[in-house]
């Protein structure tokens, strides 16, 4: 590709900084929730799988925050460990407690499919540093999608108990999933410049993909989702205790060189 380097205006830079932060926040919080299964997953292989997935998501957060730093953002460790619940901009979808195995797998499936499709579109960003990150991360994300799609299918078509739990998880999570497709302030201009993917187009592709899998293949029922959602600055009561645990070591040892 031989596009000329995109020069960002100040407004574009601020909007892109915000977008990179919300992307990273979702990855960090979901990775922490998945990390809570370490030592507790149903079988050892899944313990390892979920830890792998969490590690990938943290890797993606590192890529986003490193790029944000070049645009004037803070050091990635400071962003992750020194912001409180009022400053985190993750979706409520990812901060809900880990629940049972069905809840964790359905959430991961909804998230992975949205991330994979967004990244795939972002590989065509006119802003080369973002296109490079997307090209890297999408290769990793496809393994997550394979894994969680299979788990949702296995649970939905398994026993009456596993089916009941999977449907219950979907019923609880579905209203929160649309929040993944809420644009940040200034995103429309970045989309118009080809810097960010068209979020509505990604949303449409995602809806089609997850409906085919969850409804057609797995026999699950999609509940109604509310038309409007509060923004990413509105959290449940579950985020504060999560951050308290996640950030405890970093805050107790602010001078440590390696966590």
């Amino acid at each position: 590709m031989t596009t000329t380097p995109t020069e960002l205006t100040d407004t574009q830079t601020q909007a892109l900084l915000l977008k990179l932060t919300v992307l990273a926040d979702d990855e960090i919080i979901l990775a922490h929730r998945n990390g809570e299964w370490t030592g507790h997953a149903p079988i050892l292989e899944e313990d390892i799988a979920l830890a792998n997935i969490a590690q990938d998501e943290l890797g993606h957060a590192g890529l986003y925050l490193s790029l944000a730093q070049t645009l004037g953002g803070s050091d990635p460790d400071r962003v992750a460990f020194w912001r409180g619940p009022d400053d985190y901009l993750n979706t409520r979808l990812v901060e809900l407690p880990k629940g049972d195995w069905a809840f964790t797998m359905v959430r991961q499936f909804l998230y992975d499919t949205s991330e994979a499709l967004w990244l795939e579109a972002a590989t065509r960003s006119t802003y080369a540093p973002l296109a490079e990150i997307a090209a890297k991360a999408v290769r990793e994300e496809k393994f997550h999608v394979q894994h969680t799609a299979l788990w949702v299918e296995r649970l939905a078509l398994g026993t009456p108990e596993s089916e009941r739990r999977t449907q219950a998880a979907l019923t609880e999570l579905w209203p929160h999933a649309a929040q993944l497709f809420q644009p940040v302030e200034g995103e429309a201009e970045l989309t118009a410049s080809g810097i960010l993917p068209d979020l509505n187009a990604v949303h449409a592709r995602w809806s089609d993909l997850v409906t085919r899998h969850l409804v057609d293949r797995c026999g699950l029922t999609l509940p109604d989702a509310p038309a409007t959602q509060p923004g990413r600055d509105t959290h449940t009561e579950h985020l504060a205790p999560l951050l308290e645990e996640m950030q405890r070591v970093a805050r107790q040892h602010p001078d440590a060189e390696v966590w």
Partner: protein, 170 residues
Amino acid sequence: MEDSTPSPISHQLSTIWDALASVPDPEIPVVSITDMGMVRDVTVGDAGRVTVTFTPTFSGCPALHVIRDSIEQAVRDLGVTDVEVRSTLTPPWTTDWIGDDARERLRQYGIAPPAPTGEGQLIQLDAEPTRCPRCGSLNVRMTASFGPTLCKRMYVCDACKEPFEGFKSV
């Protein structure tokens, strides 16, 4: 096409590449970081500064800082004082860069080498075909789609009954 009198720079470059070829992958010591295709570029500047550019295998790889330090040390051990190690994401690392020789060493080590990546679809639920590294059978089952490191998954061979690790095709 060897020049009869190699310039100092090209001589130095091949020496540096040789040194990097002896840096093992921290998680799979039977192959080196050059076998894995992680070293993308080596340059020697006018003032003798050596710049090595490498690319991570997986973005969340916990061994990245080890690899970075190992690269710097390997070049310093040649007597170079000014070393810069850069990382790049472009083009993204692919298992297609693992050479035939390294694939054979992986197999002998008990790790099924990665299949060619091809132009796979983004969303595919079936894994690539894998052969048992011990008996060569294709009669294998994946037992876990993630393994002890980010780049591998777990299998068992139904022909010789051995469990083994296989490289993901990335």
